[in-house]
């Protein structure tokens, strides 16, 4: 590996995978929750919540990154008390990169899950209720399994988005090799240095390979789940 990728480049690949993995995993529960609220609940302010969730999709990423810095930076209005209390901070850490990636990927995740939740048949939920199941049990045993392909699609999409997130990440946690330098920011850095085209190309190829692998995996898993649900 070392003659092909420098340690810093290798760690950028590894860091990107780690960031994308944790960003996806940690945003799944709130993503499912928000998608369920948007799909099943009628309340004033629903459109505002919907708009807030989708904001990162349409804002310039650098704006999202700046907002994260204001909120979760060492002197941010959430970041400061958090640091005082626990000594934990997002700024200039890989966890900050994960937070930025999660926020940027959240709209895609919620969208996919919401669509599949809306497609889950409420008649089956009614049947479960008459069999004595409470709302939580119905959600966990009927609604969520029926929506599983959508949850999976949303998670893969979020993972791919998190893997490629650049603008908000570099604004929020900068571009420190070995600490916060993800795959896209490593490619960006290489492109700033004359004569690094070969190294940049290698990282670009790795990016393409990872994205393709994620897509293929989601396709295989989705097909298997669909078969399980349609139940033949």
């Amino acid at each position: 590996m070392s003659d092909w990728l420098t340690p810093d480049q290798a760690s950028a690949v590894f860091l990107s995978l780690k960031v994308a993995f944790w960003a996806t995993l940690c945003s799944l529960p709130p993503g499912i929750f928000v998608a369920w609220i948007l799909a099943r609940c009628e309340f004033p302010g629903r459109q505002i919540l919907n708009g807030l969730v989708h904001l990162p999709l349409i804002l310039p990423p650098v704006v999202t990154g700046w907002l994260l810095l204001m909120a979760f930076g060492r002197r941010g209005w959430i970041g400061a008390p958090l640091y005082e209390l626990t000594g934990f901070t997002f700024s200039f850490q890989w966890t900050g990169a994960a937070l930025a990636a999660a926020v940027m990927a959240f709209p895609l995740l919620v969208r996919a899950i919401r669509l599949s939740l809306e497609a889950a048949d409420p008649k089956l939920e009614a049947a479960a209720a008459t069999l004595g199941a409470g709302p939580l049990r119905i959600f966990l045993t009927i609604t969520l399994p029926l929506a599983a392909p959508g949850v999976l699609a949303g998670a893969i999409l979020a993972f791919a988005k998190a893997l490629g997130e650049f603008g908000a990440t570099i604004t929020f946690v900068s571009n420190i090799p070995g600490q916060t330098q993800t795959l896209p920011s490593a490619i960006y850095s290489l492109l700033q240095v004359p004569g690094s085209d070969a190294a940049a190309t290698r990282l670009v190829l790795i990016s393409i390979a990872l994205a393709m692998a994620a897509l293929l995996l989601s396709e295989v898993l989705a097909r298997r789940m669909q078969k399980r649900i349609s139940g033949a």
């Binding site: 008649k123 089956l124 009614a126 049947a127 479960a128 209720a129 008459t130 069999l131 004595g132 199941a133 409470g134 045993t141 009927i142 399994p145 029926l146 599983a148 399980r228 649900i229 349609s230 139940g231 033949a232």
Partner: protein, 353 residues
């Protein structure tokens, strides 16, 4: 277990106002599509909250608008069988059956699966079952949830005639063996006459008649069209077959003959005799092709129109209505208390089962 319903509900220009009582046995809620039957089903199951009224099960209130009480579906102990099976597609048949059963499953499952003939399907997925099998699993799933009352909303309407004929006997077994009170919603009189003990007639959001099935069918009341009036008699097959005809006994022992193919081989079942297929004679007729001649007593005469009269006869341990012309009634000089003979063609009984 008596279910007591008195509800009013309006939606989309439709107004439902229904009050009736469903005692033990099978209560059929009968009426055309759009008469409000399914709304009542939803209200009893707790899936819909009526505007006004109350629903009580053996004294326990499930819904009361005045008291602001609405028990959640999961706490009502209503076993529900819907028009479509509504099996959970991602779970196996066994997991579906287990869903509402709790710890009761291992104890009750063998008996209920045996009764419904689904024991061999347990490892399969709903998608791999036929429509009739799916509906039987749905019935089993409702039974295993230990309901206090079973609600069935046209459980056979989504099935073709062959599947319907396949499930009806299971429903009869359910009525006779499970001892569970059932509210059975249907717009098929054939199903109702086979299954029900009590009949509630509905039209345009209102209850237009209610009572024991035999009385309701033999009476010239509102709701049922005259063409459908008839007798429902309990008969037992003796096993005797002569000339392709099967011998049945009415509850008072009177023999009656039916084409072999149209009657079950053995056991007790219900025989339906349409009023328009019954003739009346003052004396035992001679040289007549009809085989079934039952001694009868005239109970009442009700004019249907200028030309027709409905005569209610007591015969064979039940009430048999006969629809004849006013001219014949006058010619025979019929009056209450008279001894006559009811004549039924065997061939006309063929479709009555």
């Amino acid at each position: 277990m008596t279910l007591e319903i008195d509800i009013r509900h309006s939606f989309g220009g439709f107004h439902l106002e229904a009050a009736f009582t469903a005692p033990a046995g099978v209560t059929a809620l009968f009426g055309p599509s759009g008469s409000g039957k399914s709304t009542i089903f939803q209200a009893i199951a707790g899936l819909l909250r009526p505007d006004e009224g109350h629903i009580r099960l053996e004294g326990a209130t499930l819904f009361d608008s005045a008291a602001g009480l609405h028990i959640a579906p999961r706490n009502r102990r209503m076993g529900c069988v819907f028009q479509e099976p509504r099996l959970f597609p991602h779970l196996s048949v066994a997991q579906n059956l287990r869903y509402g059963a709790g710890e009761n499953f291992s104890r009750s499952a063998p008996r209920i699966c045996g009764m419904l003939g689904i024991s061999h399907l347990l490892d399969r997925r709903p998608g791999a079952l036929s429509g009739g099998e799916q509906q039987r699993v749905a019935i089993g799933r409702a039974l295993l949830s230990q309901p206090a009352f079973l609600l069935m909303d046209e459980p056979l309407s989504a099935l073709d005639a062959a599947r319907r004929a396949e499930i009806l006997p299971w429903l009869e077994r359910l009525r006779d063996e499970a001892g569970l009170p059932i509210l059975y919603i249907s717009h098929s009189l054939a199903e109702v006459t086979r299954l029900a003990t009590t009949l509630v007639l509905m039209a345009e959001g209102r209850v237009i008649g209610a009572g024991p099935l035999e009385e309701m069918l033999s009476d010239v009341g509102p709701g049922l069209s005259l063409d459908r009036a008839g007798a429902v008699l309990q008969v037992t097959a003796t096993g005797e077959i002569r000339d392709g005809l099967r011998e049945l006994r009415l509850s008072d022992g009177t023999p009656i003959w039916l084409p072999e193919a149209s009657a079950p081989k053995a056991g007790a079942f219900r025989l339906q005799i349409p009023a328009r297929d019954v003739m009346i004679a003052r004396e035992v007729p001679q040289g007549l092709s009809a085989l079934n001649i039952l001694p009868a007593k005239v109970l009442s005469l009700t004019p249907l129109s200028e030309a027709e009269v409905m005569i209610r006869l007591e015969a064979g341990g039940g009430v048999i209505p006969a629809r004849i012309t006013a001219r014949s009634a006058a010619a025979l000089d019929l009056g209450p208390g008279q001894q006559v003979f009811a004549i039924v063609k065997s061939a006309s009984l063929a479709g009555g089962i």
